[in-house]
């Protein structure tokens, strides 16, 4: 049988038209479901680009991620940054790479005293935001980005709430992780919303328990945890006077947060040596473990909309830029309180790239936010600081709807670098109420007050 040309040409025309039609119909589906999505590939070398573009993007991404692992093991953290960027460009659906990358950028770049370089945080947040956009079918990167706000930034809980609400909308959100949104809501001062969420989650958990054919331990545990947390919250709201204030009868009873307790904050900063600070001060609260935030940063106009007291504009980056601004100095640390005083030696001399000190003036800020405090401290200070006071440094302006402690001192570049007129003089700056505490010479003794009165003598049973 000989193939006739008109028939062949007819079939050819049909095939060409048919494949063209199918191609046009299929392509949007491929782009939506299977494409690695469009990434900016400008960071790739020529050979990587060639292989990546030839349809092997996922393969190259996998190989690069193996390389990143080797660098993790070697502690070569700087080398991992470009790889994270490349892998996420090549295969923007690698959720683990986004999550690990955010954690790495946000937490792992530290100075010699283990303070992380917070100039990277805006980049980490931008990476999380990009990852969440590229993988909006799952809760994971919404959760991870929220976690960075909640745990690392540990101040603007409203942002954590925003991200976790987005995460909550995804069906795959793990049950145990759903509960954490309530914690963020409480820290954001949205008590009733938190309570309502506990209620919803508890109802869901009870329904799940009723539907479960076997009494799974985790289902029961989740339900019990929710009930216990909700009970605790109700008791705390009552004891901290929340309901009374809302009902307008707070004067009729004395609540745990009345009257506001004066924390008696004071501080002194001594520039002991070039880029080495000795910080000490008072905090009139007995329980051990409070951490007061100290920030040393470039001075700026406090009326500038970009100025955030004791923080920075964390959300400032919309694109992932792995190079922090090299001329910016931003040091943040926690001052650990024991025996109602704190003392810390902050050495920035060994990390010149992290602390470049390029500006003429610097702010030294002290900051305490009761919303970040543990529950036993909040029992006295209240959810938003309503039970906390300070004669000199209570501030109700820098954080809307909150009572925080905030003090700002100033140092010059010459003072920090001990140069010019300060080469032979020791710069000392202090709050007006500072009295020497002697904490620097104090032994490591923790005086823990007993709940029933005097502390027990060593070797003796408590009273």
């Amino acid at each position: 049988m000989k193939l006739k040309s008109p028939v062949a040409l007819g079939i050819l025309a049909l095939a060409v038209l048919g494949q063209g039609g199918i191609n046009r119909a299929l392509f949007p589906l491929w782009e939506k479901n299977f494409s690695p999505r469009k990434g900016d590939l400008r960071g790739l070398s020529g050979d990587q680009l060639l292989v990546a573009l030839a349809g092997f993007r996922e393969m190259i991404a996998g190989i690069l991620w193996v390389r990143a692992d080797t660098y993790f093991d070697q502690g070569n953290y700087d080398a991992i940054l470009p790889i994270i960027r490349l892998v996420t460009m090549l295969d923007p659906r690698q959720i683990d790479v986004y999550a690990t990358g955010m954690w790495h950028i946000g937490y792992n770049f530290t100075d010699e005293q283990s303070r992380s370089d917070r100039r990277y945080i805006p980049s980490a947040l931008a990476l999380g935001s990009e990852g969440a956009r590229n993988n909006d079918y799952t809760y994971e990167l919404f959760f991870e980005t929220g976690w960075l706000w909640y745990h690392k930034i540990d101040d603007n809980y409203g942002k954590a709430v925003e991200w976790w609400k987005e995460a909550q909308e995804r069906e795959d959100m793990q049950t145990a992780r759903k509960n954490i949104l309530t914690m963020a809501l409480l820290r954001d001062g949205k008590l009733e919303e938190g309570l309502a969420l506990y209620n919803t989650l508890l109802t869901d958990a009870e329904k799940k328990m009723a539907d479960a054919t076997n009494q799974d331990f985790q289902i029961r545990q989740n339900r019990d945890t929710l009930e216990s947390n909700m009970d605790n919250l109700l008791v705390r709201m009552a004891q901290r006077g929340y309901f009374a204030r809302k009902g307008g009868y707070e004067k009729e009873w004395k609540y745990d947060t009345d009257p506001p307790y004066d924390v008696g904050f004071s501080a002194q900063v001594v520039v002991e040596d070039r880029k080495i600070l000795r910080v000490e001060g008072t905090w009139n609260v007995q329980p051990v473990g409070t951490r007061i935030r100290i920030v040393l940063r470039d001075a700026m106009d406090v009326n500038d909309p970009g100025f955030v007291a004791a923080g920075m504009d964390w959300d400032s980056k919309s694109t992932v830029d792995l190079d922090p601004e090299k001329d910016v100095t931003f040091m943040q640390d926690g001052l650990f309180v024991k025996n109602q005083a704190f003392y810390r030696r902050i050495d920035m001399s060994r990390d010149p790239t992290m602390y470049p000190f390029t500006k003429e003036k610097y702010f030294v800020e002290f900051y305490y936010n009761p919303r970040s405090a543990p529950p036993h401290i909040q029992d006295r200070f209240g959810f938003s600081g309503e039970g906390m006071g300070d004669k000199n440094y209570l501030n109700t302006e820098i954080r809307e709807g909150q009572r925080v402690v905030y003090a700002r001192l100033e140092l010059t570049r010459d003072q920090i670098l001990r140069q010019g007129e300060w080469a032979s003089k020791t710069p000392v700056i202090r709050t007006v109420n500072f009295v020497p505490t002697g904490t620097s010479s104090q032994q490591e003794v923790f005086e823990v007050p007993g709940l029933r009165g005097a502390a027990a003598a060593p070797g003796q049973p408590g009273q």
Binding site: M1, K2, L3, S5, A8, L9, I11, L12, A15, V16, G18, Q19, G20, I22, N23, R24, A25, L26, F27, L29, W30, E31, K32, N33, F34, S35, P36, L53, A54, G55, F56, E58, M59, I60, A61, G62, I63, W65, V66, D69, T70, F72, D91, R93, Q94, I95, D96, V97, T100, Y137, T138, D172
Partner: protein, 263 residues
Amino acid sequence: MNAILSIAKTTIGEAIRRKVLLIILLIGVLFLVIAPGLNVLSARSSFAVLISFTLGVIQLTGAVIAIVLTVYLIPNEIERRTIYTILCKPVHRWQFVLGKYFGAVGALGLMMLLMTGILLLVFKIMQPTATFDVLGEIARGPVFFFIQMSILAAVAMCFSVFASPIVNFFLSGGVFMVGTLFSPVFQDLANNQNLAGPVKMAATAIHTILPNFAQYNIQNPIINQGVTIQSEQLYYVGLLGYAVMYIAGLLIGAILIFDRREV
């Protein structure tokens, strides 16, 4: 039909005996076998790394085999003059072209089947708890690579009726690269509202004519599990339909050219 089958069987036998193809296959298999070594290096995302690497190896090896196998099929027959002993029998030229093509696809299928078997074996050894569902999911990647390579073989077959093997190697390789890389670009251009009409029309025409290899890269949801796929079955049926249409078009083109060629 018997003539096509006989030519196809002979072609498979020839392909399996060709050392260059066996060496390419051996290299591919070697990479698949050492792939779990990457897991030791990658504590994080080990699943994604293993699967992305092994699927990439199968695709790359499949592409090289498809081109190397097909570019020589017809020119070799002409050069060795063995084509005369075939065409002097009651075998039409279209049967010869189809037989050669199906033989090439058969040999390619066997080699890709071997690599897929090794991939699944390696995966099962690395993840003993993996169920048949998971293995089936992974095998889906190579199945669509096979269809992709069948189109590539048809491209090479079409060129092989008029071009020398070396020219054909670069032509087919180029079409594969362009079809993988530029199909999405031309589609974007065709959909871009800011472009002038003629440019959009040209982009649409090129996008329609070029073989769209990119859409057979369905490995992303296999590597990054949990992605929700919409209209999945419909898409796969569409892919198969597209391949049948495109291959049919190319083979008819090849037959028409071969029919007019002095051999």
